[in-house]
């Protein structure tokens, strides 16, 4: 009997080393996050022309500000890459240095975005003004919220690395955060193209 079952079933549970599937699992989370962003993009695509006799993109958007934000995120992507390379070499001080630089760019991005939101709301163009602005704030705000939580995660990870060093668990966390961070930059490409540039043509 046992020999028969053994043919069809794995009687010995085979062991995966700890964290072996974390990378793929995290990637699948990112893909589900991608679907959520796609829904928000679709909403913006559908409602993006419903101004309710209120201000439109050309009255509100400042492309220079968007270009600055794009640059900040791009710089943060490459500095995170350098942090990964330093971590691979086992260079703890270098890893931490690049992580703090990345955090700086992330926070600068958030500061510019908050300034933009504040400016729009002061103009009376808050999310309540029109369907266009509701969908704009929902999409761009969700991206900003991701960057905010990514920054929080960055701080936590930097503290963990400072305390425990570049142990395997920390390297795994760093790989996940790097995927998260680069993914946010990819979503931002969609945002600056679809939300800002296309509407300013």
């Amino acid at each position: 009997m046992t020999s028969l079952t053994a043919k069809y079933y794995d009687l010995e549970p085979h062991h995966h080393p700890e964290g072996a599937s974390t990378g793929l699992g995290f990637w699948i989370y990112l893909m589900s996050d991608c679907l959520m962003f796609a829904v928000l993009f679709a909403v913006y695509g559908v409602l993006g022309n419903s101004y309710a006799a209120g201000p439109g993109p050309k009255d509100l958007f400042d492309l220079e500000l968007v270009a600055i934000n794009t640059g900040l995120l791009l710089f943060s992507s490459i500095t995170f890459g350098f942090a990964m390379l330093a971590a691979q070499k086992g260079n703890k001080a270098g890893t931490l240095r690049w992580l703090w630089v990345t955090l700086g760019f992330g926070l600068a991005f958030l500061a510019v975005e908050l300034y933009e939101f504040h400016h729009l709301i002061e103009l009376g163009a808050g999310p309540w003004r029109s369907a266009f602005l509701s969908s704009f704030f929902a999409l761009v705000g969700t991206h900003g919220l991701h960057v905010a939580f990514g920054s929080l995660w960055l701080i936590v990870l930097a503290v963990q690395i400072a305390q425990k060093g570049l142990i395997p668990a920390n390297l795994r966390r760093m790989t996940c955060l790097s995927m998260f961070w680069h993914f946010l930059d990819v979503v931002w490409i969609g945002v600056f193209t679809f939300v800002y540039l296309i509407k300013m043509i």
């Binding site: 990637w27 893909m31 829904v39 679709a42 559908v46 791009l74 992507s77 350098f82 990964m84 790989t175």
Partner: protein, 111 residues
Amino acid sequence: MEHHSHQDHGSVRSYVTGFVLSVILTAIPFAIVMQGGLGSPVVTALVVLGFAVVQILVHMVYFLHMTAKSEAGWTLLATIFTVVVVVIMLAGSLWVMYHMNANMMPQMQME
């Protein structure tokens, strides 16, 4: 048993290449739109979208280090599935909602 998925984290060169390409692929569409477009709005929009698609691919290759082999192909498979769903969802929503809007009776369009 092959449990080790040797993740490629790239090199300084690959990150710098990705960065330079991204800067170029960002600067051109921004410049086009800020200079007032390429004459026809549809052509401008398509060109800008094209740059975005290329830049997304650049990010995936140089920053996310995606290859067909990472995690025995499951990463790529999950990504392809997501892209298919996203395309159906985006194109379908825009298409359906555009026609709903166009077919609305005039008196329903009152602001």
